[in-house]
Structure formats: C-alpha cells, structure tokens
C-alpha cells in the first residue's frame, strides 16, 4: 500500500487514528488527574474525527450521527462530568506515583506490537479501506486495560475503563463501519449510566474508606490487615 496514492481524506483518517493511539499513551504517562481528563477528552474528539472521516471515505452517512454522538458524549459530556466530580472530590491536582513510568510506556509499545501481531490475520481477510487501523483500535483497548491495571486511584481507573470503551467503538467503526444505530445508541446510554453510577460510587468509597485509593479496598478481604 502506498500512502501517497490514497486520497487526502484517507491520509487524514490514518493520521487521526495515529493520534488516537498517541492520546492513549499520553494518558498512560500522565500522573495528574486534570491532564488525564483532558487527554481523555482529546481522545474522544479524535475518535469523533476518525468516525466522521470513515463516514466520508467509505460513504456511510449514518456514521456521521455516530461521530456527533461520540463527540457530544465522549469529548464533552463525560469529561465534563469527570471534571466536576474531580473538583467536588478535590483531587484535581493530586499526583499519583507511577511505579516505573518509562517501563509502563515501553510495555504499552509492546502491547501495540502484540495487537498488530494479533490483528494481522484479520487485516489480511478484510477488504475495507480502514483495515490498517484495526490493530490500532485493538491497541487502544489493551492500553486502556494497562491504564486500569497500573493505577491505584479510582478516577484514573474509570478513565481507563472509558478508554477501553473508546477502543471498542473505534474497532467497530474501522472493522465493520460501525454497529447498527440502535446498538450504538444503547451502548452510549450504557456508558452514560455507568458514568453516573461511578460518580455515586466514588462518594460512597470515599465516605467508607476515606480515600479513593483502590488498594485500600484490600481491607475488605477476609484476611484483614
């Protein structure tokens, strides 16, 4: 495949996909809550751009609606809710100690190669113009999981969870040009509800263990401390 032979829109699609991957790494590298939320918002925005570009390149107008929905939900609404939550919990400027930040980033890079390895057979089968981005979407899912595994703060874990959802949506868009509209809207509302629940949950956790550090939940095990 020669990049120069593709249309400019198609090139822009690949470019935006690369940036989505980049935002995942930014989230992995960010220790403070506020930039983490912003990076998440940027990922949502870029995802909306990717979706719109896929709609343009593949001529699937219903994806424009998905793009709008994504932008509204993942670039504006959820980040705003997270932001408000963080303000109310007064954790905006908390810095989380990441054990080995550079190792975490390199592990992320390994995950990208791994998802490329896993995706290669699918890519060979696919004939879609977006097939090269399948590996990237898979990597976004895996990086979201890595984010959840590596963080102790509940808010960061929620962002990791949301980022996994971003990756799944991304995969759906580039691998099959999106899911049926009704499913997409359903998932969007599920995510929203999850967000609301997480918000309530945070207050509950903090009220009961006085911290948002999930490692402290270990105390709930039978062994005790």
């Amino acid at each position: 495949m020669n990049l120069a032979q593709l249309t400019l829109y198609h090139q822009a699609l690949l470019f935006a996909a690369a940036l989505v991957l980049f935002t995942s790494f930014i989230m992995l590298a960010t220790a403070r809550i506020q930039p983490l939320i912003y990076a998440f918002a940027w990922q949502g925005t870029l995802l909306a751009v990717v979706t719109a570009l896929v709609a343009l390149v593949s001529d699937h107008p219903h994806l424009y609606i998905s793009a709008l929905l994504t932008f509204g939900l993942k670039a504006l609404l959820i980040p705003w809710m997270l932001h408000r939550l963080a303000l109310r919990l007064n954790i905006m400027h908390e810095i989380e100690q990441i054990a080995h930040p550079s190792i975490m980033l390199m592990a992320g890079a390994v995950l990208v190669i791994f998802s490329y390895y896993v995706a290669t057979p699918i890519v060979h089968l696919s004939t879609l113009v977006t097939r090269n981005t399948i590996a990237v979407s898979m990597a976004v899912v895996l990086l979201g999981m890595l984010l959840m595994v590596s963080r102790r703060k509940a808010v960061a874990q929620v962002i990791g969870f949301m980022s996994i959802e971003n990756g799944l949506f991304f995969a759906a868009v580039v691998a099959t040009y999106g899911m049926p509209m009704i499913v997409e809207i359903g998932i969007a509302f599920d995510v929203l509800v999850a967000m609301v629940l997480f918000g309530v949950f945070f207050f509950q956790i903090r009220a009961s263990i006085d911290s948002l550090d999930v490692d402290r939940l270990n105390r709930l095990s039978e062994k005790g401390e």
Binding site: H100, I103, A109, I113, Y116, Y117, T120
Partner: protein
Amino acid sequence: MALNIAYLAVIAALASAAVALGADFRRSGLARIAMFLLLGVSGVAATVAGGWALLENLKLTEQLALGLPWLHWHLRLDALSGFFFAVVGLLLVAVSLYGPAYVRELEGGKQPLAVLGLFTGLFAAGMLLVLLADDAFAFMVAWELMSVSSYFLVTHQHQNAPNRRAGFLYLLMAHVGALAILLGFGVLAGHGGNFTFDAMRAADLPPLWASIAFALAFFGFGMKAGLVPVHAWLPEAHPVAPSHISALMSGVMLKVAIYGFIRVSYDLIGDIQWQWGLAVLIVGTLSALLGVLYTLMQNDLKRLLAYSSVENIGIVFMGLGLSMIFLGTDHPVLGVIGLIAALYHVLNHAVFKGLLFLGAGAVQYRTHERDLERMGGLIHRMPATAALFLIGCVSIAALPPFNGFVSEWLTFQTALQTPKLESGVLRAILPIAAALLALTGALAAAAFVKVYGVAFLGKARERRAGHAREVPAGMLAGMGLLAVLCLVLGILPTTVIGVLENVPRLLLGQVPPSLTAHGWLWLTPVSAEVASYSAPLVLAAIAITFFVGRVLLRRKANPVRRGAPWDCGFGPLNARMQYTAAAFAQPIRRVFGPVWKVQEQVEVTHAEAPVTLVSGIRHQLHISDWSWFKLYEPIGRLVLAGARRIGRLHSGSIRTYLMYSFATLLLLLWIVT
C-alpha cells in the same frame, strides 16, 4: 602448504608448553623467552595460515592417523576457520610480545611459572585445533583441551578462595555447555551416519530435528560465549587469570565458541529458519544491553572488562541473528551483510578487548591494583600506556573513525533493511533491537569514560598509583600492535570486508557486489543511495581541522600558564574530592534501578557538640547480578536437594549395596527376557 603452516602453529604452541616446563629451573630467563618466542611463532604461523586460507578461499582437508581406530582425525582449513585462525594468531603475537616482561613479576612467586606456561601453550594449541577439526570427535577433544587447560589458567593463583570458586564454576558451566554441544553433534551424526562434518553437512534433517540440533548448539556455544543468562561464569573467571591470559580468554576463546556456533548452524545444519534468527537476535540484544549495564556498575577494572565482553558477544550475536532472519526469509544479500557485520565485530572485539586487558595488566603490573577507586592520574605516570589504552576505549565505545564503530554501523544498516521483510511484526521488532543497540553503544561510551576518567585522569587516589612508572617496552609493543590494528581496521573497512567476503562465499555461495563496489574509499552496504561511509575521509577531515586549528591558534600565542582549578573558594582540593567510579555511575544506577540487585547503606555519624554537624559518612554499596538469585541459586538448590535424595540410598551398609546389585540384576534379567 597453508595446512602445513597451520600444523606449525599448533606444534609451536605445544612446544611452547613443553619448553615452559623448564621455566622454574635454573636459567629460567631463557626458558621464559623461549616459551614466548615459540608462542609468537605459533601466532605468526596461525595468522599466515589463516590469512592465506581466507584470502585465497582455500578448502584444504587432511586425515591424520590419530584418534579412534575407525575415525581418524579429519582436519580442514577453509575461509571460515582461516578467519578465526588469523584472529587467534594476531592475539597470540601480541601476547607473546607482552608476556616476557609481564610474567617476570610472577617469577619466584608462589605459583610456578612452569604451570602457567604449560597450560598457556596447551590452551593455544587447543583453540587452534578446535578451529582445524573436521569431525565431531576431534572437535570435542580439542574443545576439552581448551576448556580444561583454561581452567588451570583461571585457578593459577589458587591460594585465593574466590579464584578456586571461579575456576570451579567455570569448569562446571563449560562442561554443561560441552554436553549440549555433544548432544547437538549426536543429533547431526544420527542423521548423517557418522561423526565427520562432511557427513553432517550432507545429511538432510527434518525441520524439527534441525531445530533441536540448533537449540542444543545455541545453548552450548552460547554458554561458552557468555550470553545472558548463562554468562555468570565469565565475569568470575576472566578477571582472576593473569592479564595476558584474560586477553586471550576474552579476546579469542569466546570467539572460538562463536566459530563453533557459525560452523554448526550455517555450515553443518545449513537450512536456516528465521525463527532461530529471532531467538538469536533477542538473546543477543539482551546480552548486549544487560552486559553493558553490568559493565557500568563494576569498579574492578578486569571484571568490568569481562562484563563488557558479554556486551560485545551480544552485539556479535545480534548481527548473526539479523543475518539468520534475512537468510531464513530468502534475502541472502542482506543475510550476508549481517554475517559480515558479526564477523567484523568478532575481529574488532578481539583486537580492542585484547588491548584493554593487556592495558589493565600493565596498570596492575605497576600499581598492583584492579580497583578503579584506588587509581587515578596514571596519564601523568604512564603516558604511553595511557595513550594506547585510550585508543582501546575509543574503539570499544564505537566512536568513528575507529574500528568498533564500523561493525556497529554495519549492524545498524542490516537492521534498517527491514522494509524488505514480508512479516510486519518482524519489520517492527528489528528497528527496536537496533535502538537497543544504540542504547548499548551509548552506555558503553559512558562506561569507558568512567574507566578512563577514573583510572587514568584526575589525581592519584592512592600512593601506589601516584608512584607508578611506565611499563617495559615489550609490553608496550604488544599493546601497540593491537592499537595500530584498531585504527587500521577502523579506517580501511572496505579492504577488510573485501577479505571477509570469502567467508559468506564459502558458507552461502554468494556475496553482494555492493559492499565494496565503490572502491576502497567508500563503504556502501546496500547501495550508494541507501547509505555510505568513508572512514578515511572522516579521519582526514578531523585531522585537518585539528592541525589547522592548532597551527592557526598556537602560532602567536604565549605559553600556557598553569593555575589552581576552581575550588569554590574553600582552599586546596585533594584527590578524595574527585568523583569516584561509583559516583560516576550513580545517575545511571538510579535510572535503570531494577536491573541490578543493589544493596546500599549510608551511615551518618554526627559530631558531638553541634549535633547538626556531620563528622563522617560511611557508604557501602553492593551491586550484584540478578541471574545469581533468580536462576543459579534455585538450580543449585534443586541439584542439592536431588543429590540429598539420592544420598539417602547410601546407607553405608555393605549388604544394602549388595541388595542394589541383586535387584538390578533381577530387573535386567526381566527386561532381557
């Protein structure tokens, strides 16, 4: 004819061993000189024979009426063994120049010189015979001769318990490796019909058996070469031998293991699969990176150099791994470039590591120190040694226009040809390996800034370093030979590669025309469009700027005034205020923390009157290799536990033993029927 010269080399080495027996009698000076003279003859003959075979791409075979009745010794000298023959020969020459003065110190010591000389000769003969062997039996006999005689060299100063321990570890691991090699030959011989290499070459192995043979050979030769994680014996064994032996062990014995690996995988097995290449590349990269990180943390000069051998062997195996990946995916031209990069690094490492070990020996000869923290300022006391050692440091740090750079550059260029590969994952992995090679190179530069800066520059930290004198001319000549080679190999890469190309011509039947297509001035691995490097012009340009600058600036200048360095206004500086070796490596220790097992203790004692005043600080730092705790000790415990189980069978009662025999007999009879 070339084969006869090769025999001369072996016989001269054996003669040197025989003559050495007389070294502890009267007129020992004569024996000492004769022993190194013969070693020198052996070296020259090996260089000539090997160089001849390499240049002319000879393939000489002969059978000697030695060995088993049904399997005479098959010997063979071809371009591959010729190349390694020449490498061994070059180092032997340097050592024979260096040796006579160096061992004078050992004369009349506790250890008999005769033993040292005897095993040095046997060791050299063993290495040369391994290279000549053309059947598995001769190969293993020579291999054992090499291993066992080097064991005695390692334990030469056996009064120290650590030396005995190092020697035992060395012997143990050498034999585990030899066992794997033997099994590998067994697999090959099983399919080939007999133990000659010709039969193995002709055998057509099924892929699974080929992979098993390869895995055994990789493990066995890799153990001898010192690849991570089976490297642990190397930094223990190499430093404790006398320095000229360390130079031989690090410089060429490891290369003999690489020879065995190339011989078995490229020549005897033949059909290379790319998965093997990937395994070799990964192990090589790990060895290079961990090797250099451990190098950085050492404060014992010779131990540091031994760890750096692990690193360089890793770089060689990276080149081999790349070559095998390209060969396995049907890109023979690129495979050849990788192989040449690896061979070039073999030659380079032999030369500069030999030089550095001899340099370390020279320092030890005058200061009786191996600890960097007790040296310093030697550039003032031993200027010639310092200059030669600097050449070694610049070469090993892979800086242009010296030789280390050329082989690393070739390895980079091989790794960068990945777009030609079919598999996308390989295309992504190979550049990462190359980036890790870049990290290795940069860390190696840091390590040798530390070595040179702490040992040779600054002020003397101890009295003995401050009173050192220049070493005798013979030792300087040995080092000088290698230093000149460092420069020559660095600035004439195209000529050297033109000669090296005979090895892939022998093994793979083809060579790319592009490497040397543009004459001696330009090195162009793939084509002139892709990459080019002209070492002679680089040297010329740096030299011209250097001299123009000096002439222009020094012409009218007043003589240089000397003054005290900046001391922050606190009065005279002393040698203890300098950065130490441990301090130099501290930032890197912090950055790569988890790589080592670091035990650090700081005790601060406070003065009595104002409690805030610190009267003394005691800092203890112990850095050890994780492989001990994660790999060797568990295996050791397992073996001990197993031995204890078996030990229970030994009750000591003779009737029990009789019962064992009886039971065995019954069992055998039952099986037979």
